[in-house]
């Protein structure tokens, strides 16, 4: 039995976590890299906390209020929080973290919040003001430990945050404190002074096991207690294992509500007609992706905005479903015709030389090759040829967003807790620029641009939701992107323990049976 293999009972409770790769450092404020965030978020806090259902809870900030018509947001901070080295947490830490680190190096915060904010000011030791040019609706969702972890100013100020030694021996305010980092993994211990109460589990051990399959075996044998991600193929087996519990979530490390998205390069005459794009869309069986690539870890995307952001999600919007008939009809309407071999050739397509086949490149990360292969298979079945072009991330970024040398691509756009973070960047015309993971399709629609601005300015969730729904109607019709599937990830843990959460502080409230 797995429990026997638990080794010598030391009296302290411990959770062993599987780790796919060692993070280079443990500073979540200078990067959005998943590897770093997975292990480091539990060491830190944000001003607020987002529950798994995205409800906003206080964290380092006790309370907040809107001043000056919403152009200033005032946060009252906790006074009982302390850094792991004993130094008290103050407003100075908040101001330093935003001004010197987050708005410079945390690329997502820099890109969204950075453009709206005019300043972060300390009012007193326990009060901070965020000042904006105009009211900024999404603010609260951008202040959790993922989007805006707070660093200790007393260790970081006057240094280069990228090379500060504290990145490898972090000091945070979070529920766990750092103990050791070695080639096999990491050790954390419970923070006895945690302002939200001492965690029940005494120690967290992170064990490096690069291979996901091996991680599962280790979990089954009791050598691991918690896994951030179970590979799809293994999930069904674990479901039946009474010693193991699963937890499905749309939250991923360093990003959440991710939607696997097919992008068309609208600069290409090939895709100039939205009937062509819709035709291609009808040829794709997105349910099959959920089934065979994700093994059920996800759902077919119903709308351009993720269902994980309920106030903005518009399930009523129509996206092309799997319908080969419709696909052929639309392609024919757009001026394509099939030859004897069943391939589509341009007959009378705007801007396309007659006789050009409907064959195009598909640029993707090597890690998304399963999607690529399945899409190739599905399109091949209706006579459309997809040429796979896997590229390592840096090459991909350069090719797609800098040089725009691609036909179609697939990107996992993480919408985050608010469309302002992850959706806006895909559609606004000012993002037709060499900005990574932005408007790759080169979609430009002034109406959409202005709707996004309205949604951002508003402090009223209802009103914001309405603007976002109107945006979705438009972009679903124009279809610069085809949202394929919303990916979920399956956490798994031993049945011995309970109370885990999906987010960064996954173990803070968990407890284990002996």
């Amino acid at each position: 039995a797995p429990d026997d293999e638990d080794g010598p009972q030391t009296g302290a409770s411990r959770v062993v976590v599987g780790l796919s790769e060692l993070p280079g450092h443990l500073n979540p404020a200078i990067t959005t890299a998943g590897g770093v965030h997975t292990v480091s978020e539990i060491l830190y806090d944000g001003l607020i906390r987002l529950e798994d259902d995205l409800r906003v809870r206080p964290a380092l900030a006790r309370a907040w209020s809107y001043l000056d018509d919403g152009r200033v947001v005032r946060f009252r901070l906790r006074t009982d929080a302390r850094w792991h080295d004993g130094t008290p947490f103050t407003a100075r830490d908040v101001v330093y973290s935003f001004q010197e680190v987050l708005l410079r190096y945390h690329s997502r915060t820099r890109a969204s919040l950075g453009t709206a904010l005019t300043g972060v000011e300390m009012v007193d030791d326990s009060t901070v003001d965020f000042r904006f040019r105009e009211p900024y609706g999404p603010l609260l969702r951008q202040l959790d430990v993922t989007e805006a972890p707070i660093l200790p100013a007393h260790l970081y100020s006057e240094t280069d945050p990228l090379t500060n030694p504290a990145n490898r021996a972090p000091v945070g305010t979070g529920p766990y404190r750092f103990v050791r980092y070695d080639a096999d993994g990491l050790r954390y211990a419970a923070n006895p002074d945690y302002h939200d109460g001492r965690p029940s589990i005494d120690e967290l051990h992170w064990r490096l096991i690069p291979d996901a399959g091996t991680q599962v075996t280790a979990l089954e044998r009791g050598a691991l207690d918690w896994l951030f991600a179970v590979p799809g193929p293994e999930r069904r087996r674990l479901e039946e294992d009474p010693t193991i519990r699963l937890l499905e979530t749309t939250r991923g490390p360093g990003g959440s509500n991710c939607v696997m998205t097919l992008g068309f390069n609208l600069d290409r005459p090939l895709f100039g007609d939205e009937r062509t794009r819709w035709g291609i869309g009808h040829a794709i069986d997105r349910a099959q992706i959920v089934d065979r690539v994700l093994f059920g870890q996800g759902r077919v995307a119903e709308a351009p905005i993720s269902s994980g952001i309920p106030f903005a999600h518009a399930p009523e919007v129509e996206l092309p479903g799997h319908d080969p008939e419709a696909a052929q009809r639309l392609l024919a309407d757009a001026g394509w015709g099939r030859d004897a071999d069943g391939r589509w050739l341009a007959m009378d397509v705007n801007g396309v030389t007659a006789g050009t086949p409907l064959a195009f490149d598909f640029t993707h990360f090597p890690s998304f090759s399963q999607y690529a292969q399945l899409l190739r298979a599905q399109l091949l079945a209706v006579g459309i040829e997809l040429r796979l072009r896997p590229m390592e991330p840096p090459v991909f970024v350069e090719a797609v967003f800098t040089e725009r040398a691609f036909d179609t691509n697939v990107v996992s756009y993480c919408h985050g807790p608010d469309p302002e973070i992850g959706v806006r960047r895909m559609y606004i015309s000012s993002n037709i620029a060499p900005v990574p993971f932005s408007n790759g399709a080169a979609y430009a629609n002034p109406v959409v641009d202005s709707l996004f601005d309205q949604a951002r300015r508003s402090l009223d969730v209802e009103e914001r939701g309405d603007r976002y729904r109107r945006i979705q109607e438009i972009v679903a019709r124009d279809l610069p992107y085809l949202p394929l599937v919303e990916t979920e990830s399956t956490r798994a843990h031993t049945a011995r323990c309970s109370g885990f959460r999906a987010g960064g502080h996954f173990a803070a409230e968990a407890r284990c049976r002996r």
């Binding site: 280079g24 690329s107 890109a111 096991i209 690069p210 091996t214 990003g255 840096p394 090459v395 990574p436």
Partner: protein
């Protein structure tokens, strides 16, 4: 396949230079341009590669100003020759630069991983050499017998099987199936009390990856031993030694093996590259926290200094292994010509 230098037709007598001190010195000195060449090639490759390392750092967001800042930060805005000059002069002092991802000295990052890889490769090297030699000798002594045939078949098979496949199958059968071995990592999750138990723990974890890596190397050693020893045993000098009334075992070990060892030593020594390559695959499969896993993750994140560092280390290991082999060769066979 393997041809001994100077065997057979030493037509022209008196032209066989011995291994001299000068020769040793020459061999050592020759290493310098080799290493410099390797440094240059690898540096140029990394620099010429498409893809901007800064983009890998940026993650999903970022803008031009941000990139410029990062570029300046890593001296990527300097001209190429200047960067190479900086790199080489630092290299000379043992400084491999800073990792772009981890922000730590590459030398330190690599040094952390060396023990694990060293443990894995050295134990595989020793096991495969000794076991291969032994297997080859036993098979030769029982020539044409069952042991010989079975050895031949098995080594042929191992020789042809890709190392990842051997790893996968052994995980399927030995680790996952029968549960005999731990399947990942280098240490248990439990803290081990002090010296011996901790060492034993590592040993248990080492068993399977080392076995897989050993199996890859062993086949070659056993086959070459079998082949050359078999060939030596057919030579007249063996029969001449027997005709003197010497016992067979003595003749095999003292006469024949001595010469048969030469190609085996060459094989083992010149397969350093193979061994390290195999280690990369095996480390990946078994989650062994060594240089191989570091190499792959650094490649994915485009951490050029680390990749370069590992590549240089591997190339250096190969160069040194070749040198040691050649010198051993000279010690084993006094006739050896070095030309």
């Amino acid at each position: 396949m393997l041809r001994l230098p100077g065997r057979g037709t030493l037509r022209r007598r008196g032209t066989v230079p011995q291994v001299t001190r000068r020769y040793l010195l020459l061999r050592v000195v020759q290493i310098v341009p080799t290493i410099l060449g390797i440094v240059l090639i690898s540096f140029v490759l990394v620099q010429a590669a498409p893809g901007d390392p800064v983009l890998a750092l940026a993650g999903e967001h970022g803008d031009q100003a941000y990139y410029r800042e990062m570029r300046r930060h890593f001296a990527l805005d300097r001209p190429l020759p200047e960067r190479f000059g900086i790199y080489v002069s630092r290299l000379a002092t043992g400084d491999l630069g800073m990792s772009r991802i981890q922000g730590r000295p590459v030398a330190v990052i690599i040094a952390e991983r060396i023990p694990a890889t060293l443990l894995l490769t050295v134990s595989a090297l020793l096991c495969s050499s000794l076991a291969g030699l032994l297997l080859g000798i036993v098979a030769t002594l029982r020539r044409d017998g069952a042991v010989d045939l079975v050895t031949d078949m098995v080594t042929l098979g191992l020789h042809a099987a890709p190392v990842f496949w051997v790893g996968q199958i052994s995980i399927l059968v030995l680790a996952a199936g029968l549960g005999i071995f731990p399947v990942f990592g280098m240490r248990s999750t439990e803290p081990q009390a002090g010296g011996l138990p901790a060492a034993l723990d590592v040993l248990v974890h080492l068993a399977l990856p080392a076995l897989v890596l050993t199996s890859q190397q062993l086949a070659g050693v056993a086959r070459v031993t079998r082949q050359t020893l078999g060939r030596e045993l057919d030579r007249d000098y063996v029969r001449a030694a027997l005709a003197k009334g010497l016992p067979r075992g003595y003749v095999v070990v003292r006469h024949a093996l001595r010469l048969a060892l030469l190609p085996v030593v060459t094989l083992v020594g010149h397969r350093m590259g193979y061994l390290l390559g195999g280690a990369v695959v095996v480390e990946t499969i078994f989650g062994w926290p060594g240089l191989g896993t570091l190499l792959l993750s650094s490649l994915q994140s485009r951490d050029a200094p680390v990749v370069l560092g590992i590549f240089l280390l591997a190339a250096g290991a190969v160069v040194v292994a070749n040198l040691v082999t050649d010198l051993t060769y000279g010690a084993l066979d006094p006739r050896v010509r070095h030309g």
